[in-house]
């Protein structure tokens, strides 16, 4: 089960600033070893436009192996099905590799 999302009205402590939408540095950051900017590529554009519905920060990257869009920060992945990114909470899954930290919000 996914942790409860912060929601738009009031986030968890520490996230109440009005500038909540500071994007994570994305793949076009220098030295990131990214694939290079293909401005005309619609997928690249989408990656820069998208935000994770739970963290409200921009998605870090596209994972080719599983064909998913990953939010590294919260360990959440959105599937791309039939070439269409499914950007709804129901479709997301967690990609936690280690057990959640103390004070977990998991049921």
């Amino acid at each position: 089960a996914l942790p409860g999302p912060p929601g738009r009205a009031a986030g968890p402590a520490g996230r109440e600033s009005s500038s909540r939408r500071q994007p994570l540095a994305c793949c076009c950051r220098p030295g990131s070893g990214g694939k290079g900017c293909q401005r005309a590529n619609p997928s690249y554009l989408l990656l820069r436009l998208f935000v994770c519905l739970f963290s409200l920060t921009c998605l870090a990257r596209y994972e080719e192996a599983t064909n998913e869009l990953i939010n590294e920060e919260l360990g959440i992945a959105y599937p791309i099905i039939d070439g269409i990114p499914n950007m709804v909470p129901e479709a997301a899954r967690t990609t936690q590799k280690k057990p959640p930290a103390e004070g977990s919000k998991q049921p």
Binding site: R21, L49, I84
Partner: protein, 313 residues
Amino acid sequence: GPAGTSPGISALGVKGCPRCAWIWALGLRRHILLPQEHFKVDCISFSCPFFAVYQVFESVAKKYDVMNDSMTLGIHRVWKDILMRKMNPSPGTLLLDVAGGTGDIAFRFINYVHSAQERQLQQKLKNHQNLSWQEISESYQEDKFKLLGDSQVVVCDINKEMLKVGKQKAQHLGYSEGLSWVLGNAEELPFDDNKFDVYTIAFGIRNVTRIDLALEEAYRVLKPGGRFLCLEFSHVSNPLLSRLYDLYSFQVIPVLGEVIAGDWKSYQYLVESIRRFPPQEELKAMIEDAGFLKVDYQNLNSGIVAIHSGFKL
């Protein structure tokens, strides 16, 4: 809040609604509908309007375009053309088309900026009278890659079937560049703030459960200076025309639905959703509540359809 202090799902009257159960589990409390906001639609099994709408569109997706032509006698194409002319996008515009499942608006947008770009190109070539044929051909090749001028349209819809139909249409009609498809919820768009130049929602907003949330999201994702455009069925004030319109809607459309799409109930539902939808002034007020300025509307065909416009300033 902690378990035991929040009202249970049954207390909110959404018991048995898969969508609201999910929303509750995910903690998106404010998306839960109060009992009075759920309504019993005789023809649809679930009492949750969101799910009812979802099912309707799932079943009509493949015949959507045919039905639009039959129901509106092809006039919906004119309405959409008018919307595009009103938008008058210049090359380089980034458009978000919400609830745009089968791509009607998206394709029109691409055609529009494509022609605008071609006109610009021809103008440029005209000004270089002394080029050789070879040079002209080379310059055309170069500009071909920028034929859309960096214009992009993102089509966002909650319904997978509608998007699939749209994608297939795009392939069939040869649209490939400048077009993306996303499964997303108008009430909770997966896009960052201040990104889009234009937001359109054509014949989609009446199907959104929480129109106020959708309008807030529209405001959020638009850039400052961005434009909101909504094309939707509205209210006819002329009593005679209104009577004829009612007659047509309730007597003819479901029959067409049955004959063409084999689906009476979905089209009856669609007709009812049109009647329930707020009239022009009320929608204008809702758009203003979301923060938009210079909100105005234009009636088409005496109010059968209206285009509402607002700006994020």
